[in-house]
Amino acid sequence: MLSQGHLHEIHAGLQDWAAALGFVLGGFGAKAGLPLVLVRSPRGIAKHLRLHGEGLLALGIDPARLLIVEAGDEQDMLRAGLDAARSSKLAGVVLESWGKLSAYDLTASRRLVLAGERSGVGVAVLRGDAPPRPSAARCRWGLRALPSSPQPAKSLGMPAIEVELQRQRGGAAGMSWRMEWDKEHGIFRPTTDSAEYDSAPPSGAVVPFPAFRAG
């Protein structure tokens, strides 16, 4: 579960975009009942992507809880995201962005961090097709899909992903986890039988945050 009140950055490609959205919505969605805000500002081919209610339902996320904001450009998206992050009583705010996102600099990310800290709302910036750049985010995650665990009769297993903690402010980084979707709770959970990812902590995906903040 992604920690509340902090800014997370998730990098993923177009093919892994749905997995990244599922990771974030599931990570924030555990506080059931509260609304989630998704601010979208897609570009290029991602412009044709639409959220599918039945797909959300199939993942165990109630689509009625999701408030979608179609922001026109990056500035609008950051402003709308900031407004949403300032209002309390939300499960989380997700900003969906594509490309360079030049408006998202240290100042803009710092604003999001402060707004999230004050209201206790988790904020995530999904960055598609973009090189990492310095920001005030607490964590930066890289995400890609993994082949699902083999099932009888060559059928599809539960969705699986590999999540890498690329950078953590004031903490260790470089770990990666193999996670599988847990439909009952509507969240990606680390699988225990992944020997090659032995750096994973024994329980939960909560990143052990140190008590102090650097910077």
């Binding site: 093919q15 892994d16 975009w17 749905a18 997995a19 959205l21 599922g22 990771f23 509260l34 609304p35 805000v37 081919i45 044709h48 992507l49 639409r50 959220l51 599918h52 209610g53 039945e54 797909g55 959300l56 339902l57 199939a58 993942l59 165990g60 109630d62 689509p63 009625a64 809880r65 999701l66 408030l67 979608i68 904001v69 179609e70 922001a71 026109g72 609008d76 402003r79 709308a80 407004d83 949403a84 209002s87 309390s88 009583k89 939300l90 890609r144 899909a145 993994l146 082949p147 699902s148 060559k154 059928s155 599809l156 297993g157 539960m158 969705p159 699986a160 992903i161 979707w181 439909k183």
Partner: protein, 506 residues
């Protein structure tokens, strides 16, 4: 006490004339299901002249007039139409009373001279645009009190005296009316000469009360519609003002005034309109809408700030504004609220505030929730509901018991064409190329066949016109990415069906 004058209006064919198309020459009737039989419940004048009657079974009426046109009777719509006519009649007098199902009572005391006398006023009412355009038959009668006017218009044949009306005007039950007629009484005047005690003993107190009301000896109070002053607040200046601080302060004053009036009426505004009258005659309109009724000036002010910031070209005061008007065009009931001790319930408020602000800045249709829609076609199975207008989310059905998701999280709109290769024509794809990249399919599930909605297409019921069937496959490539592919058309429907990528799974 000054004498009062009442005008009773009767629309004898209101239900049928409301529905009947203008210029229709065949008999027309409305039907209603009563005790498992369709019976006529309202007639047009032509049908009534031809001997049809209310209560007659539809089958009998059809046997007599095969060309009879019918429609279902909607009594609620009748009442709404009557209410609309009543509001319209408020231009003649402020005291208008509904007399359901098809009448209105107008208290025209002191109003007739404005229209050039009572007769001229009746003519003006009859030729009012609302009545004329809809083609309603209308009868009117004047009397000194409402009950008499009502009886005259419904039971009179041009009489001006209540005493000449038939006994049916008392609107007693049919046994009592027949009993009175058997006693040799012909009209109200006859009855009025009899001792009241005898009537009360034979037909009950109700008959006496009805008679005394007709004669004006007992008051028959009416409950006129309340005529609310429009919510319009205005401030005029002796000199044009251009200073932003002055304008803002004035606007705040107007909002406070509006809040007071709204509080008295237990209403909250859903829409606010600010009109700035510039000294050179130009008028600038600013509109905001809120998702929940409000009368608190602070959030409304903030929304107007957003609105002004979102303007393409900024407000130009020129030489100043000489008048500022605030209108509240849409309201909803809002009772006074006391905040909860635990602070719960505030979350709705915070979310509504966010929705209002974003909707004002970006446009209402861009802040939305997904709602289910009854269709099997994936892209038609949902719709967007603007959060501003639908503040409570629509519930979704319970998720299916299937472990692995059958529907993708993201859909492509429109579906992306891909080139795919299958081992057998009807089988799942072995590999496909999308955006220049080749994906080897490792695992595939399907097909899930979704038939087209042939009933939406013209001639769709004919073979080969109903649209193309889609065969959906859930596939996983070597990297573990999951796609939702479909083949558009079966091989018997189409020679060389195309493949599309319709969605991405988590």
């Amino acid at each position: 006490m000054t004498a009062r004058r009442h005008l009773a209006l009767w629309f004898p064919f209101l239900p049928s004339e409301r529905v009947k198309p203008l210029g229709e020459t065949n008999p027309f009737a409305l039907v209603e299901r009563q005790a498992n039989a369709l019976r006529l419940s309202a007639l047009c004048p032509l049908a009534a002249r031809n001997g049809l009657a209310v209560g007659m079974p539809l089958a009998n009426a059809r046997a007599r007039f095969p060309q009879l046109i019918t429609a279902p009777h909607d009594r609620q719509a009748d009442h709404q139409e009557l209410a609309r006519l009543a509001t319209r009649m408020m231009r003649f007098t402020p005291l208008v009373t509904l007399d359901p199902p098809d009448g209105l009572l107008l208290d025209i005391t002191g109003c007739a001279h404005l229209w050039g006398g009572e007769e001229a006023m009746v003519d003006a009412v009859a030729s009012d645009a609302a009545v004329l355009d809809a083609g309603y038959s209308l009868r009117g009668a004047l009397a000194d009190h409402a009950a008499a006017a009502r009886a005259l218009v419904r039971y009179g044949r041009g009489q001006r005296d209540v005493r000449a009306l038939p006994l049916a005007a008392l609107e007693l039950d049919s046994d009592a009316t027949r009993g009175l007629e058997r006693a040799g009484l012909k009209n109200i005047g006859d009855l009025a000469t009899r001792p009241m005690a005898a009537i009360a003993a034979r037909f009950g107190q109700g008959a006496v009360v009805a008679l005394r009301r007709l004669l004006g000896e007992e008051a028959a109070p009416t409950a006129p519609l309340r005529n609310m002053a429009p919510l319009r607040f205005e401030r005029s200046f002796a000199e044009p003002v251009a200073l932003q601080a002055t304008i803002a302060a004035c606007f705040r004053d107007l909002l406070l005034q509006a809040a007071q009036v709204l509080e008295q009426r237990a209403l909250g505004g859903r829409a606010f309109r600010l009109i700035l009258h510039r000294s050179d005659g130009l008028r600038q309109h600013l509109d905001i809408t809120t998702s929940q009724p409000t009368r608190d000036p602070a959030p409304v002010l903030r929304l107007f700030d957003e609105r002004i910031a979102a303007l393409a070209d900024p407000l130009d005061p020129g030489f100043g504004y000489d008048r500022i008007t605030l209108l509240v065009p849409a309201t909803q009931p809002l009772s006074a609220r006391q905040s909860d001790l635990t602070g719960e319930g505030e979350e709705d408020h915070a979310l509504a505030d966010l929705v209002d602000r974003l909707s004002t800045r970006l446009g209402a249709e861009r802040i939305y929730r997904l709602a289910p829609r009854d269709s099997h076609i994936p892209e038609r199975s949902q719709r967007r509901l603007p959060a501003l207008h639908h503040s409570t989310p629509k519930p979704w059905p319970a998720p299916d018991r299937e472990e692995v998701p059958l529907r993708p999280l993201l859909l492509f709109d429109p579906p992306q064409p891909v080139t795919a290769m299958a081992s057998v024509p009807d089988g799942p794809p072995l590999r496909f190329r999308w955006q220049g990249q080749l994906h080897e399919v490792v695992l595939a599930e399907g097909p899930e066949r979704i038939a087209p909605e042939w009933w939406r297409l013209p001639q769709g019921h004919l073979t080969d016109h109903g649209g193309l069937t889609r065969d959906y496959y859930r596939v996983e490539n070597a990297e573990g990415n999951r796609f939702w592919l479909f083949r558009h058309g079966l091989y018997q429907e189409r020679h060389n069906p195309a493949w599309y990528l319709h969605g991405i799974f988590a």
